[in-house]
Symmetry: C2
Subunit: 880 residues, 2 copies
Amino acid sequence: MVYKFGNNTADGSKELTQLLGGKGANLAEMAQLGLPVPPGFTITTDTCKQYLKSRSMPPNLKEQVQDALHTLQKQTSAELGNPDTPLLVSVRSGAPASMPGMMDTVLNLGLNAQTVQGLARQTQNRRFAYDSWRRFIQMFANIVLELSHGDFEDILEDLKKQEDIRTDSELGADALERLVQQYRQHLDRAKVAVPDDPHEQLWQTIAAVFQSWENERARTYRRLHNIPDDWGTAVTVQAMVFGNLGDDCATGVAFTRDPATGENRLYGEYLVNAQGEDVVAGIRTPHPLTENARAELGADEPAMETLMPETFAELARVRGILEKHYRDMQDIEFTVQNGVLYMLQTRAGKRSVNAATRIACEMVAEGLVSTAEALMRVEPESLRQILHPTLADDADSPELGRGLPASPGAASGVAVFSASAAEKYADEDDVILCRNETSPEDIQGMYVARGILTTRGGMTSHAAVVARGMGRPCVVGAGSLVIDEVSERLVAYEGTPREVVVTQGQRITIDGGGGRIFSGAAKMVEPSLDANFESLMTWADEHRRLGIRVNADTPEDCRTAIRFGAEGIGLCRTEHMFFHPSRMLAMREMIVAATSEGRRAALAKLQPVQRGDFAEIFRIMDGRPVTIRLLDPPLHEFLPRSDEEQLQLAESLGISAERLRERLRRLTEVNPMLGHRGCRLAMTYPEIYEMQLRAIFEAAREVRGGGVEVAPEIMVPLVSFAGELRRVREMVEAVAREVAPDVRYLVGTMIELPRAALRAGELARLGDFFSFGTNDLTQTALGLSRDDAGAFLPGYETAGVIERDPFTTLDSVGVGELVRLGVERGRAANPDLKIGICGEHGGDPASIEFFAGLGLDYVSCSPFRLPIARLSSGRASVIN
Amino acid sequence: MVYKFGNNTADGSKELTQLLGGKGANLAEMAQLGLPVPPGFTITTDTCKQYLKSRSMPPNLKEQVQDALHTLQKQTSAELGNPDTPLLVSVRSGAPASMPGMMDTVLNLGLNAQTVQGLARQTQNRRFAYDSWRRFIQMFANIVLELSHGDFEDILEDLKKQEDIRTDSELGADALERLVQQYRQHLDRAKVAVPDDPHEQLWQTIAAVFQSWENERARTYRRLHNIPDDWGTAVTVQAMVFGNLGDDCATGVAFTRDPATGENRLYGEYLVNAQGEDVVAGIRTPHPLTENARAELGADEPAMETLMPETFAELARVRGILEKHYRDMQDIEFTVQNGVLYMLQTRAGKRSVNAATRIACEMVAEGLVSTAEALMRVEPESLRQILHPTLADDADSPELGRGLPASPGAASGVAVFSASAAEKYADEDDVILCRNETSPEDIQGMYVARGILTTRGGMTSHAAVVARGMGRPCVVGAGSLVIDEVSERLVAYEGTPREVVVTQGQRITIDGGGGRIFSGAAKMVEPSLDANFESLMTWADEHRRLGIRVNADTPEDCRTAIRFGAEGIGLCRTEHMFFHPSRMLAMREMIVAATSEGRRAALAKLQPVQRGDFAEIFRIMDGRPVTIRLLDPPLHEFLPRSDEEQLQLAESLGISAERLRERLRRLTEVNPMLGHRGCRLAMTYPEIYEMQLRAIFEAAREVRGGGVEVAPEIMVPLVSFAGELRRVREMVEAVAREVAPDVRYLVGTMIELPRAALRAGELARLGDFFSFGTNDLTQTALGLSRDDAGAFLPGYETAGVIERDPFTTLDSVGVGELVRLGVERGRAANPDLKIGICGEHGGDPASIEFFAGLGLDYVSCSPFRLPIARLSSGRASVIN
């Protein structure tokens, strides 16, 4: 339960992070490295878990702590509670994952009316001793006794007024002694007390730090950062060192490389004669460590390099040892007491994405890390920031308001306030679709828009989900804006000097990565992908075993995809090809046709369009596999809504508006997600797939005739029964034989329904490949409509019922088991089966790791997520 | 590939039905029993399957047939094709399951220009010989050469005109010889021929019979009767015997007991000097076998008993042997040739449900069968016919039209043409809801109606499915009726002497078991469940291991359920309690309330109502377990639709109609099935379940105070995550502790989502019981909305993609695997877990057999299916 460290030795090491927390494990590691670490000991996270479960200290803990304390006292030649040689300790929390400031710390523990005298004698600094005591009382009262911090600050302020002084440091020793008296009176009034016995102080503090694992802000932080609730925190008890004993003392923080740019130089700040909390509290302004940095900042105060050259040299030596040992950029805390450097913490440093790629690449060049390790140094999700056009640093358009950054990238366009307006304007200009919230009937408008803005809804709202799927920049929940959809205007109240009105057709800019909205066309920069980025991608490709494909429906998508390294198309959604207003009419004619002849007439209009699209995509993809999903129209997304649209359609069909409405009413489904879609439509109306197959194979023949290789992979959506796949396969074979007998192709099936996953063996004998549609598989396995889940799913995350949104990261133990069963059964029945995944999870790092573990052949994701998928796949190979 | 039979011995037996078909296996069995069977041989179903797969006769078949033919020739002292001693054979199909008339038969095979002379000499009957020949040519041409039967009939008719005679039997030998010539000319014109060589005749006929397995009517029959397409048919080749050689010859069919009443007496018909096909064709009227039957019918022609006393005695002896041997009522075919009885077929006889129960009971009394065997003699589904009120035999109300019998039982009431009218009239009178088709918004009207009639839709339409679930008689797809929902009238065109108009408020009767509609209140009879039925139920209860519970929401349902033997309630759907118009308003107030206070106000109105309902149900169920499912409102079923309803609700809520519509719009879901329902609603608005729990436990306390035992089992709907069940369990425990600490109760969960089945281990540790909701589990596992599947699912059955409607019989290999996994994992984690099933499949015999195999504790079904479930469960125990 207790691990000691100090004097160049330690019971623990950095391998024990889960048990000792990050802080405790790295203190042990540094001690073992021979670095100057004040001695101490760490109580394990397991002990914390036991405590939280039973609400009492485990038996034997007291003995083990006493033993460790005994060692500590010998090492420091001091004793807890001894007025002559008082030992002071800090008691700090430390979880396995970094949770900065979320849990509690008590410093200067060991002081009471007797030991404060000893401290004053030892340091020959009575003011320092009383200041340390009052700080201890304040922290103990706040953390252990749960009194308000503010009350103590009020007492301090009152005293300063009485003394007629302005800063804490002007308070003398006597004043501080009086302050301690006043603090103790405040405690009496609250009917609580700080124990005099330092052992009792220690014991109560340990319990309070355990307890702090469950405070509200720690819970919230864990939820936001996906840290499991059952990890618990370790507690580190360490001998105090003081940076505030005089001018040969200091405290500071540093990064072993520049966290903003990644440059290979020590980077940090320090304060002379100060305690760590002074840096954090921002009471005094810290100074740079190096002369270079000082010069860059144009600061006057001397750098540590100049002021404390020997200690600085020691710090530089420590930096070298740490980087060589950890093989990563470190974020360190140190204290200098009377000219001697003490290391208080080291951990991997947070860094910008550009710094991360630069550091990873330079460390490879320096021989510090392998390319495999380099991959582990860059968080895949962070690449998001550098792949889209972003707002220029010097963009100075007036800000209209803020919302949630739902889908990254910046976009400018004219504001429109309805899906139909978006469709109307989209051919002439870029548009930003502005809605209070979106629904499935807006989907065509969203598709043609450059960006989407809503005033309501959260990160899992319809707008957010669809925009991410389509790769459109999106800001949601911009509550300070008011959109009046009837009068077609947007009014910004806050974040602007005065009320600003934007009417339809006026230009605005949204920043989907930062959640901001601007009036006018703000200045943007195209992403610049540097050599470091390219190196990283190359290494990821060298390591990864998963293939990377793209979900792409348009030539533009395909070009982006090739630039970002796609090896093929994993999902070409043929229905998206019809979102363009000019094609929508024929699509609608097809859907509402009451007869086979009516459908054929509409299909005859669509076929040349599809053939042209496929031919262009085949040419761009230049021999790479192109997986084409046959039509899977969620009917309700295609039906005409407005009177105008209905009138136009009725006219085009040559029927009365009345007849049309009757027909639309019949097509309306109670649960369209589970309705007459996917291959079910083809079972009823085979002519639809026949048209598409003809378009595909005619395009293939044409392109191949032009000397370009083609590799179509025909994918059947929404299969639940073997008979469905068998029938469509026969259709494919018949058309291929007739139209393009020389074109080689594959036929496969989506696995997107639980039954399909369970019956994978049967399906694998009928198909050449599987592609898991994890979006629909999640919807059906969880019985959860993505369009409707916004009403309750966010609450599930808050309440801890789910750890992550299952539409973002695959629910590995539920939906994931269906994927696993599907893979096992499919491969067992057909060892040559190619298996991929084309849901949105194909671009999510955690999900990719899961898929890699299952031995899938490829993942497919939206174009802008390709680098993330490549890096994630490379990392997955390194981990497994 | 070939099994011989004859001369009191046989290669096969009735155990080989799968291989030899029913006919072949039972001929072999009868031969072994020493009964008079003309010798022959049977080619196996496996051979048929090989033939159909490769489209060619398997190697070695010819040798084996030659060998069997050789034996047959020795046994009959005749030879195929020998003009002196010609052997004539019949070639008949025979599948493992009875498919009467669906496949093909050729008689008199072996005749040609030479052998017909021999036959004439042998029988000393030239007319008979030529008649046999022309019949053979006609059958061979039709079945093997695929010529139209009608053409030959035309030639025959022409000849009769030329000869100026009226009946076939008046045609003399010469005329028949000319007829054969004309038949052969007709064949020449069609460029086909009947081979002269009898071996070639045989060979071609065997192939044609194999082929007939795949003809259209056989496919259709198999689909309707759930016979697998891959079974194949056997072919039996048998020496011909003739019932048409003179007055000491006859042919007949008989049942060993009366198939209508079950009375223990020989029952059948015969024709003197006739062939079997004469009976079937209905050309001559057959006569009764016994004098008793003759007297009952008042017929003049003598019974066989009188006319052929010796042969009749032989038949009676055979009947005794067959019943004793088969221990079941038999349906037999026989021929008498020159006074000698020959058995041509025996099989289990079809019988009415009343006959089935009587025969089963009497055979137990006679010591012929055990009670376990008796259960296997009655088809559970057939009980449907005797459980509901039915139309009286002497009902003489005028028929308005016919439709599909979608849900059994007869019901009378005033016709209403909208759900709101149904609700309006239901308090005063019984109503029949008449719609062109129904949708979820009609559900309240369907609930309050006594019966439902639609003019469109099939057996899986919304109306049919919901009516069966609610136990309401229902006729769907009555296409000859026209309902004008606007002018509120129904017009009947066909099935009536003239156009009849029914306006709102006029009384009609529907017969949901027969699919008929009558004007006025037709005379009905209540089901009379006789002593045989009760004995059968008792035996079923003795054998079954599955418990039987009921899905019941009302006191009336509960009383019916107890009468039909329910051991408890497996599903009480609390939302159904609110379908009554008087309660609907408060329910709607609750749903659309925007605030917690608004919901609490509405809930306060609902609570006393629920408490009263629960108390009454507890009293009726008298200590039996009562499983109460907490609210699972499919919101869209409860929202007000009409302007009137909306206005009323807005007024009651004190908000504007505008506000209400905005609120309704927000509550509208894209996929309500996968939306904010079940326990998800309780996670967002815990006060709803709190109200219900309070009502349950207050009712329990009250009833228990009155001395009646209560056993509530609280069931949580739509759980997918453990956290949901944990939270609701905590709510239950808190309310129970506070309100009724002495009441013992269980808390369990529905398993109705694939994830819940997969995560059953985790859920089982949090619950006392599981109840599989196989309706929703089917919808989610198959991604199939029951409300919308009507557009394509019937086509799936026709096309053979599915064998049975998965909402009727559990999809055992798909959904069934989820149930199996759920049971295994649940039991492994919690050995005390009680497991039941409460979907509609709980009343389906095939599904019950599956559930029994999994070792479930109980099934729960609608009240009128309880006897079916009891019998099915008893049978399942006997089978397993």
